[in-house]
Symmetry: C2
Subunit: 339 residues, 2 copies
């Protein structure tokens, strides 16, 4: 289990270490036959470059950072798994950072993180990807970063990789499903005000209602903060409206679970008395009873894409990489046609 260095490969392939370096880094100006020879030698020795040495000598640290602020465990677990898988394939390492988007020193924290960890790029997840000040700061520094679910395009001058879901359309379709099922009074728990995705979801809801000629009624709309507890109080408000809604759309699963709790505590049956739908398709949505209707976003794949595009961007920054991921309506038993 001895460490193989670039010198070993160079010796075996009978070239200089610089040429091996060129091949490893996919640099141009290497004859095809030479490249083959080097590749073969590397394979034979099972050579793997020393990341520390690369980081020291070059500018690229082969490290990317995934930064988050208080996400749900399953969102984080899925996203990071995706990022990790892609990193591994590309010879990159991933480091995790937890940042507090509320703190005033967010920018300073980020700078420190970049300096200390020597990451070559950052993947920002909501609500950090929503923080225009932060994003602009990175843009200004010309620091590579990918944004997951950032605010609608155009609002920012950012032009690096962006991974998003058509939140508006997803909610539009899900709301339509409820309307088609006969529901006329559909409550809505908004997402965290700092998450732009929450706003887009709300717009989708309003659009669907408008398209069906239904009124948007503030009485059955409440502010949520993505936490279970915020879902509890939001639902209390909505269910105390008169007349009571027959369906309730929550912008994430945790709050939808809270809605089901509250309904059950009030003696209402789900879905008989109240249809509840969520957003995210976390494991919870399947484990709860009755299993919850929700919108699935391909979070792991979003991690793949984010890492892939970021790494490409690190090697050669080019603009306008915007990826829209597909969603899927998961109709389960917490929602039903109105009788």
């Amino acid at each position: 289990m001895r460490k193989i260095t670039i010198d070993d490969v160079a010796a075996l392939a009978e070239v200089s270490i610089k040429t091996v370096s060129r091949v490893i880094n996919r640099e141009p100006n290497v004859r095809k036959t030479t490249r083959q020879k080097v590749l073969e030698a590397a394979r034979q020795l099972d050579y793997w470059p020393n990341v520390a040495a690369r980081g020291l000598a070059g500018k690229n640290s082969y490290l990317i950072g995934l930064v988050y602020d208080n996400p749900s465990p399953s969102y984080l677990a899925n996203l990071q798994t995706g990022v990790l898988e892609t990193c591994r394939e590309s010879g990159y390492g991933m480091v995790l950072y937890s940042l507090d988007s509320q703190k005033s020193n967010l920018i300073a924290q980020t700078d420190e993180l970049i300096i200390q960890s020597r990451v070559s790029g950052l993947i920002l997840t909501p609500p950090l990807s929503d923080n225009m000040e932060l994003v602009q700061h990175l843009v200004a520094q010309n620091f590579a970063h990918a944004l997951v679910s950032p605010p609608a395009f155009g609002e920012t001058k950012f032009d690096g990789p962006v991974i998003m879901l058509d939140d508006r359309l997803a909610v539009f379709e899900m709301t339509n499903y409820l309307i088609k099922a006969g529901h006329r009074r559909i409550g809505f728990i908004k997402g965290h005000p700092q998450h732009s995705a929450g706003l887009r979801r709300f717009i989708g809801y309003c659009d669907a209602l408008n398209a069906a000629g239904l009124a948007v009624d503030d009485q059955i709309i409440a502010q949520g903060y993505y936490s279970f507890d915020s879902g509890l109080s939001a639902t209390q408000k909505i269910l105390s409206a008169n007349p009571r809604p027959t369906a309730l759309f929550s912008t994430n699963d945790d709050m939808a679970a809270a809605a089901m709790h509250t309904a059950l505590d009030m003696g209402l049956k789900v879905p008989d008395d109240l249809s509840v739908v969520g957003f995210d398709d976390t494991p919870l949505s399947r484990y709860i009873w009755p299993p919850m209707t929700t919108v699935r976003q391909p979070i792991r794949d979003m991690g793949h894409k984010a890492a892939e595009k970021l790494i490409t961007y690190i090697h050669e920054p080019k603009k306008g990489q915007q990826i829209v991921m597909p969603f899927e309506l998961k109709i389960r038993s917490s929602s039903a046609p109105l009788i």
Copy 2:
């Protein structure tokens, strides 16, 4: 935002870079006044050592790896948060690895991981910490590693840091709680056969039953694999026993949620007809309805401890570091006294 190097600090403190290095690394043989001078200079310049350079020059990469195999998202999220926090404080980086403990090349995978990533130590989580072959391999190589929830001590010759919970006692106490509540027939869903913690939990259950003079009945014991789906079929077996148990202990929360599903699908009320208790205190246990009685393990703190002890061990390996973490019974509404 210029990079500060060790030379800057040395110049400001008017000492050689080697002395700065000594101070940074807490080496002995530095005069107190010198140490102060260096520390002050470092603070003033906001100096942070370059990890890549340290890794290249020395043997310690200041990187530790957290390896896991298919854990639940919230277990992973909590543990890694704990590890991360401690790493940050100690100037270490954390890398994550997903390994497949079923695959025959597990050892080879691990070696590759160690070589490629240059980690200085590994934290193994179940079921990897249960894999004696893997642990012995690391021991043989004299490679630093911490074990989270490994098999009972004594079965192994390992003598590095070990973080564990008294699983047997936790289940013993929880079972006692059920017995005190009047339950005489208590079903049990076993944990994954490859997790030794599952075995210890089962022993705790048997011990409590025996202590109360109750028989252990195979009819109401089923094998589970920690997944929701495995909980479904396990519960089906247990609830079809005659007479039906009045309480059901599941070795984790996901399976307990499945038990509640199955019970509800069968028209049984929880907790009126069946008390259900879980293990782990995942968010799910609180979000489900009715909120679930469960055993809380301080997973995040276990991450702290594991990282802390591992880092200490990397600097000076000394034996017999065994930490037993406290647990807590969380009595909620999925369990009730037998009427």
